[in-house]
Structures are given as C-alpha cells and as structure tokens.
C-alpha cells in the first residue's frame, strides 16, 4: 500500500500548528474535534483551496502548497472530490446539470458520456429519478447524495468531506454515510470531518484535532457490518478520553 496523502508540518496562521499525518490509498479517515478547532481549515489547506503558510502536502507525488492557484484548481478538478455540509450547488441548474458541471468543464467533448455516467452514479445512490429536478425540489439527503455523485464524476483519487451529515436527519445521514462506504469500498480514499461518533466509528482511523493540533489517533481497521457495535463502543470510549 502506498500513501495517497502526506501532510508535513502544515501551518496556517494560528489556526493550524505544524500538522503532520499520512493517509494510505483506499483509506477512510475521520477528523473529529470541537467546533473552531481548525478541522475545516485543515481540509481547505490540504486541498489547496486556501494557501497554507508553511509545510507541505503531497498528493501522490505532487506537492500542493507550492503550486499556483490555477495549478491547484486543476488538481482539485482532476484528482479530488468534495462534499460539504451546506451542500453547495448552483441554484439555477437542475440536479444532473449540477453533477456534471465540473466534469463537463474539464472535458467538454464528452458531454454525452458524462451525462450517462452521472445518471449511472445517481442510480447507484438511489436518486436516479431526480435528475431533472431543481435543487430546491429535493430533500437534504438527496441533495447531499447528488453532491457525492458530483464529487465522483471525475473518478477522483481522494474525496474530502466536511461534516456531510451535519445538516441531515438520522435517516438521511445513514443514506449518505452508506454512499461514502460504498465509494470507499470501490477504492476511493475519503477524508471526512464529522461530529457524529457513529459515522466516525465506521472509518478506519480517527484523528482528533484540538486548537490546530492533532491530539490523538484511533485505529479501528476496515469497517464490516459485524463489528459495528464493538467499534461504536471503542470510539465513544476514546472520544471520552480525548475530552469530547
């Protein structure tokens, strides 16, 4: 197994303080920590949306921090996927147009194939019937699954998710987390910020962040349905230790 992501001494203002961690290909990691501890900031800096002050981020063999804005944008387009708590979409496009938006932008010639792929992904996540709906005509869980489809369009190496279930009710959250597990099983790495210990318990590893530093790590191994109860228990015990 090789590393998909390697973060070394990443600093941003006084929010991130020399953060270092690695992520293996195909891994699914949860980041937890209290509000304001710098979890989102970490995602923005690792993915190159924000410009870190110091340190390095290796995506495969590419160092990101030192790239230009445009190079970072291109890398995000081709190798990364994103899912956010607020389910950011363009309000004046329908669901499927939102899903294909970045992919069509990257690859204008294969519009037709891309729409087919989008439809296939939507079918996978049980929102296949909603393709032509406007974004304010679907539920939060459906919209978030559409965002996952959007993030998967370019077959990214890694998906960054920032509290993807944060705005959803229990049932919708379960659908969404199942979607993540499915794409992870199919080989895509997932780095996910979450407040939900149940969700975190389904990940292979949990990093605990406090005041911009990684304060602890819990290794749970690959998720299987059988040990779900056991993992949940371990997770909450560990979180208690961390002062959650």
């Amino acid at each position: 197994m090789s590393e998909i992501l390697k973060v070394r001494n990443l600093s941003k203002g006084n929010i991130l303080k020399k953060i270092s961690f690695e992520m293996q290909e195909g891994e699914m990691i949860a980041i937890m920590g209290p509000s304001g501890s710098g979890k989102s900031t970490l995602l923005y800096n690792v993915s190159g949306m924000d410009q870190a002050d110091e340190g390095e981020v290796l995506l495969g063999s590419t160092e990101i921090v030192s790239l230009s804005e445009d190079e970072k944008a291109r890398l995000r387009l081709s190798k990364m996927g994103f899912v956010f708590q607020q389910m950011n979409v363009l309000a004046n496009l329908n669901l499927i147009d939102n899903i294909v938006l970045p992919a069509v932008h990257a690859n204008k010639k294969q519009k037709r194939e891309l729409y087919q792929r989008a439809q296939a992904l939507m079918d996978d996540f049980h929102i296949g019937d909603l393709a032509e709906r406007r974004v304010n005509e679907v539920s939060g869980g459906e919209l978030q699954r559409a965002c996952i489809c959007r993030s998967m369009m370019m077959k990214p190496e890694i998906i960054f998710a920032d509290e993807p279930t944060g705005a959803l009710n229990q049932a919708a959250a379960t659908d969404v987390i199942e979607a993540f597990l499915k794409i992870n099983r199919e080989g895509t790495s997932v780095l996910m910020v979450t407040h939900d210990s149940k969700v975190a318990g389904m990940c292979e590893r949990i990093l605990y962040i406090l005041d911009g530093e990684i304060k602890g790590e819990l290794k749970l191994g690959k998720y299987t349905q059988d040990d779900a109860k056991e993992r949940e228990k371990r997770t909450s015990r560990w979180l208690n230790e961390m002062g959650w």
Binding site: S40, A73, R74, L77, L90, A106, D162
Partner: protein
C-alpha cells in the same frame, strides 16, 4: 435615524451610489448644455439681427437699376417701413490678399460695401454701427479665425492697399452658407476702387411688424421690378445663421436624450438589484410593522438627495463646458441678450431631467410594495427572480453605438462629394462660375469652347440661368430662375422623378414646387422671351423635384432647346470632370491663373474646396460634437459596464467561489463572463449600427431638411461605421470588463463554505 440609515447605505454601496449620482449629473449636464447653447445661439442671433436691423426682404440684382420705379413701388405699399438700395462691389478673389493670405481658393463672393443709412447695418463686437475712415477696411468676423487676422493687417485689392481696422458682424452674411461676404470701407474708398470690381445691388426692404413677407415677395415680382438675382428673406437668413452652429447643438441634444435613457435604465437596474439584495431586510421591516409607504419613502429620500447633488453638479458642469463650446457663437453673433432667462431655462430643464429620473425611481421602488412580508421572508416574489443584468449591457451598447454613429454619419454625409447634389449642385470634380460680366453668355461660351478643346477634360456641361415668368394654376404670375443645359451629365439629387430629358420638360426645386403647389407630372406654362418685349408661352411638364439651397433655393432646370430664346443669361456654370482626378489641383490653378488677369468674373474651383468653403464651419462643429459624443459614449459604456458587471459578479460571488472549490480557475470563470458579455455586446453593436444608419438617417433627415436638403440618405464611411466605431466600443467594453473581472481573482474557493 433616517439620516443615519441613508448615510450607512451610501457607505455600504459606494459604487452604486456614485454611479447613480454620475448618471443624474450627466443627464442634467447634457440637457442643460443643449439648452444653454441653443438659448444663447438663438438669443445671440436675435440680438444681432435686431441691432443690425436685418431686412425682411432682399432682392439681389445685377445690371441696370431704375431707382425711381422701386421707390414708387415702395411708397405705394402700406406694409413697407423702409427701403434702401445698397451697393455691393464684387471683387475677383484672385485679386485679394488679406494679412498675406491670398483669397484665390476662397469660395465666397467677396466684395466691398459702405455702411447703410437706414437699416441692415454692419456692426462691431459691441453692436456699434461701424464708420470706417478713409484707408480702412472692416473684415467679416468669420475670416478672423480662418485666416488668423489681426487689426493692422493689410488687405490688398490688386495693387491697392487698405488697413484692417477691425472685424464686422454682418447679420445677413455671417454664415459660411451665405455665399457672399461684405467688406466695409469708407464711401471715398468705394468710389476710388469702383473700377476694380463689378457692381451688384441689394434692393432691401424692411416691412412693418406682422406683414406677410410672401405676399410682399409676390407683389414685388408682379411689379416687374429688377430681379436679376436671388431673393432672400428674413427667415432664410435666420436659418442660415442658426444652422452651422445649430447642428452641433442638435447633436448634443440627441446625446442628452440617449444619456437620459441610459441613466434611467441603469438606475432602474441598480434599484432592482439593491432590492434583491435588501430583500430580507425589507421583509424584516415589514414583519415588524413598518408601513410600505415608509419603506418606500426611506429609499426614495436617498435618491432625492442623490438627484439634488447630481443636478447641481450637472448644471455647474454644463455652465463650465458651455464656455469653450460657445466661443464661436459669441464671436460670430455677439453676446446673448438675456442670459438670466437662458440660465433659468437651463435650471428648469435640469430639474425636469431629475424629475423624470425620480419618477422612474419611484415607479421602480413600487415593485417592492407588491410583496407581502411573508412572501419576502420566504424569498418568493417578483424581484426575487434575478434580473438579467446583461440585457441592459446590450441595450446600452446599442445606444452608445447609435450615439457615436449619428454625428459621424452626418459628418461623413456633409463632407462627401455627393452631398452637394442635395444642395442643388451637380456632382463633378470642378465647377466654373461665370457671373457679373458684361455678357455672361458670350464669355461662358468662350470658356466652354476652350474646355472642349482641353484633352485633360473627360466631360463637361454648360448651364445658363435666366429669369422666366410663369403662370400658376390660380392665374398669378410667378418668377422662375431656370438653369438651362444638359442636366443628365452631372445630375443633382431628385426627390421625385428625374432630370428634364426631353424638350418641354422642366424640373423644379422643392421650394418652388411647394410655393407654386406643383408636383412632378403636372404641367405649367412658362413664357419664353422672343426679344422686343414679345413673349411666347411654352407648356412644360414637370419631370422631377430636386433639393436646392443655392440662390435662395428657388430654381428650375430645363434643356437648352426648351427655351431657345433671347432671355438674358444671369449667370453660367460649367461642371466638369477630368480624366485623371489627381490633376484637379493643377488644372484649377492653371485656369485660375488664366482668368485672374481678366476682369471677367470667372471663378474656378474644386467641388471639394467648395464644400469645405461652404460647410467647413458646420462640419467642424459637428466634428466637435462627434468627438464629444464618442468620448461620452465610451465613458458611459465604461461606467455602465463596470457597474453592471460588478453587480453580476457580486451577485454570483457564492457560485463562483463554489466553482473555484470544485476546481475552476479564475481564468475559467472570467472566460464564462466574457462569453456571456460578448453574447449581449456583439448583438448590441449590431443593433446600434443598424439604428445609427436607419432610424438615425430618418432623424438626421429631419434635421437636414430644415437645411433645405430633402430626400436625404446617409453617405456612410464604411470603415468608420463597421470597423472604427465597433472597435472603439469594444475597447471601452473590454477595458470595463477587464477591470471588473479583476474582482473574480479576489473570490476565494472557501468563501462559500465559510459563509453560512
């Protein structure tokens, strides 16, 4: 509370506030400027014509004159207040130099006169009647700038010398469109120099107030008094005075209408965008029980304040700009009589402009009232639907192109060689005028013979003009000046029908056609002159109607053989073209030299020089206005696009940020904006070009028909219209787009994620 809210709003929306204010100021300024210039022009002309006591009716006459018969006619008419016969000593331009400048290429009929006794005075800059001393000459003020003259310069007539003692304003002939220019000398000098020129008479009448000038003109003609020359009336003089500067003012007026339209449009869109932005706040205010009226008045008072500032700034700017633009008006026509009235009108006009804008603001604000608090809170409702801000960009681009093209097209039309055909002059390269000689017909025929044998000449046409009597359907007799010759060679512009191609056909100028109430296809009786006071009627079919402003605009055309008679030739014209147009300058010089030695009143000129001589003043003024409208159109487009694109970018900031997060670069987003802008800009340019040509032509046609040029079509300069104008607009638009799109670089990928 209200004050603080407004002040905070200004601070929060600096760009929108400043732009609104600029639009309000620009609208007020341009209309104010038009009113100011127009008011001072017409008031200056009025006061000049009043001080100088311009005649109401004027008959030019070459040849013998029976003063007693004219006096008898005049004394027996109750409508005549005063009559005088003024002498005008026509000089050869080739014999004239002023301040070292030869007048050989001057297109005017220049001549000497003495100060009149009872009216039609030649006056100085302070409106004083000038009394020249022996050895002094007063020069028409229009030559002052044209030749850079100063008091003390020497005017030379052949070998005789006069000292330029000052400049005169001539209420009749100030305009370059009037084809004669009077130089004022002492009586003694006039008599001394008399042998150097040929004398003409201006038979002038001042009528009692309220008299019918047309009735008088008919009576004069019927009385068979001297009439060998054009007739000019007060209104024609006033029109010629007004036109050369009036055209510039009309262009500014047009620009001010366009700017007002753009301002209203922009302010409307700014308000709608602001309402869209303030949707929540408005909902809140409504929810807590503040009445709609109060909310509307809160917004409205902001615009009231802005329009007050804009109005004051605009009026002040107009007063400042009017200074340099009005220089020529003051120089030619003197100071306006009552400036306070004009200023009052200007302020009234600006108030009206602000009123119109505020009315539109009030109506736009009304859109907010239709929505209930709940609708607002839920984000539904009319203005919740986002306004397409590219649409006004397209519309304003079209307006800007229109604003640039109309003056350009007018300018290119007036300066085009064909334009003379609207004025009643054949389109040729060179024109030779034979006037004021002992026997016009003989010398014209001699010149024609010489030209016939010149192998540089490709084609020529000789025209003789004579005076004929005709009888109108109602039995009254009417004087016609008929230009006889081959009118197919260098035709003028026919509004209806065509040139007289057959024996027994006649073409009439539009003014004659209107006055005689005769149309193409009608038949009139014209009496030809068999000599010995015998006349024979010839029945003439009207073959066409053309536009003409030469010789008072009342002319007719026929073939030689229709009037093969003994009528004396008043003047002759030869139109000609050369095999090689490039030789025109030398050809003209050679012939000028040939005829300058003889005192035979032969004037040789290139048509191109004729145009600059006659319309140069007007063209220069329109060019001034054209430059102004290009600058203001570009400025307006720049400001408007900057503003609207900023609004678009601001409105879509969240979406752009999301796109960046998903991997779009700034360049990608800018490209999308650029494409969308072009999608509206380019059709806007196309619409503007179309509007500038087709409705613009109609508009300019109305203006030019007041100048006597009927049936007007634009003669456009395709490079200017299809290349330069779009290029200028695109540059202004590109600059605005480039500046606005810089903002895209300042949108960050994580913005949309942070904000919630």
């Amino acid at each position: 509370m209200k004050k603080r809210l407004i002040l905070n709003d200004f601070k929060a929306n600096k760009l929108v506030t400043i732009s609104t204010c600029i639009f309000m100021a620009a609208s007020a300024m341009l209309l104010g400027l038009s009113i100011l210039l127009f008011g001072s022009l017409s008031s200056s002309i009025d006061s000049l014509m009043e001080e100088a006591q311009t005649p109401d009716f004027l008959q030019m006459h070459t040849g013998k004159i029976d003063e007693e018969r004219i006096a008898f006619f005049s004394e027996n008419r109750s409508d005549v207040e005063a009559m005088q016969i003024s002498r005008f000593l026509n000089l050869q331009n080739s014999q004239l130099t002023i301040g070292g400048n030869s007048l050989i290429n001057n297109m005017q009929d220049n001549g000497l006169c003495t100060q009149n006794h009872s009216f039609d005075f030649l006056i100085d800059a302070e409106n004083n009647k000038i009394k020249p001393n022996p050895g002094e000459v007063y020069v028409p003020v229009c030559y002052k700038t044209e030749y850079g003259l100063e008091t003390g310069d020497v005017m030379q007539i052949g070998t005789e010398k006069l000292s330029v003692a000052g400049f005169l304003r001539d209420s009749q002939m100030n305009s370059m469109m009037a084809s004669s220019k009077r130089f004022l000398v002492n009586e003694a000098d006039y008599e001394r120099l008399w042998p150097l020129g040929s004398e003409e008479y201006l038979i002038e009448f001042k009528l009692k107030e309220g008299s019918d000038i047309n009735a008088f003109a008919t009576a004069y003609e019927d009385a068979d008094l001297p009439g060998n020359g054009p007739t000019i009336t007060y209104s024609l003089i006033k029109m010629m005075n007004a036109l050369s500067d009036g055209m510039m003012i009309l262009v500014i007026l047009l620009a001010s209408a366009v700017v007002l339209f753009i301002s209203i449009l922009c302010i409307r869109y700014m308000i709608l965008t602001q309402l869209e932005k303030d949707k929540r706040e408005i909902g809140m205010l409504k929810a807590v029980g503040i009445s709609r009226k109060d909310i509307r008045s809160l917004y409205f008072s902001k615009y009231l304040l802005l329009s007050a500032i804009g109005g004051v700034v605009g009026v002040t700017a107009a007063a400042i700009v009017a200074g340099p633009l009005g220089t020529q008006i003051r120089e030619l026509y003197g100071d306006a009589g009552n400036m306070s009235l004009i200023y009052a009108l200007m302020i009234l006009g600006s108030l009206a402009v602000e009123g119109i804008i505020l009315l539109s603001v009030y109506r736009t604000l009304g859109k907010m009232e239709k929505m209930s608090a709940v609708q607002v809170l839920y984000g539904h409702g009319d203005f919740g639907k986002k306004k397409n801000l590219y649409l006004p960009i397209g519309i304003i681009t079209a307006a800007a192109v229109f604003m640039i093209l109309v003056p350009w097209n007018i300018e290119s039309t007036i300066s085009a060689p064909e334009f003379v055909t609207y004025m009643g002059i054949g389109e040729s390269q060179i024109r030779i005028d034979i006037r004021q000689t002992e026997n016009v017909e003989v010398s014209a025929n001699a010149v024609a013979k010489e030209i016939e044998q010149d192998d540089q000449v490709l084609d020529y046409a000789l025209m003789h003009t004579g005076s004929y009597k005709t009888v109108l359907p109602d039995g009254t007799s009417y004087n016609l000046m008929i230009e006889k010759g081959d009118h197919s060679r260098f035709p003028v512009r026919y509004i209806e029908g065509r040139y007289p191609d057959n024996v027994g056909e006649i073409a009439l100028s539009i003014l004659n056609s209107k006055e005689m109430n005769v149309n193409a296809g009608d038949t009139i009786l014209v009496y030809k002159d068999l000599g010995d006071n015998l006349a024979a009627p010839v029945s003439c079919k009207v073959s066409g109607i053309y536009s003409d402003i030469t010789n008072g605009g009342k002319t007719a055309k026929a073939r030689f053989d229709t009037f093969d008679d003994k009528a004396p030739v008043m003047w002759s014209i030869i139109y000609l073209s050369l095999k090689d147009e490039n030789h025109a300058d030398t050809w003209v010089k050679d012939y000028q030299a040939k005829y300058s030695s003889l005192n035979d009143g032969i004037k040789v000129a290139k048509i191109a020089d004729y145009i600059t001589g006659t319309y140069g003043q007007t063209i220069r003024n329109i060019q001034k206005a054209a430059v102004m409208s290009v600058i203001s159109a570009c400025l307006i487009l720049f400001v408007v696009m900057l503003l609207l694109l900023r609004l678009v970018i601001w409105r879509e900031r969240n979406d752009s940020s999301l796109k960046k997060a998903l991997g779009f670069t700034s360049a990608d987003i800018k490209e999308a904006y650029l494409k969308k802008t072009s999608k509206y800009l380019l059709p806007g340019i196309a619409v503007g070009i179309f509007a500038g040509i087709v409705p613009g032509q109609g508009l300019a046609g109305v203006l030019l028909s007041s100048m006597g040029a009927y049936g007007f079509h634009f003669i456009i300069n395709p490079i200017a219209v299809f290349v330069i104008a779009p290029a200028v607009i695109i540059v202004a638009a590109a600059l605005a787009t480039w500046v606005s799109l810089k903002e895209v670089g300042r949108i960050y990928a994580y913005e949309c994620l942070r904000a919630s």
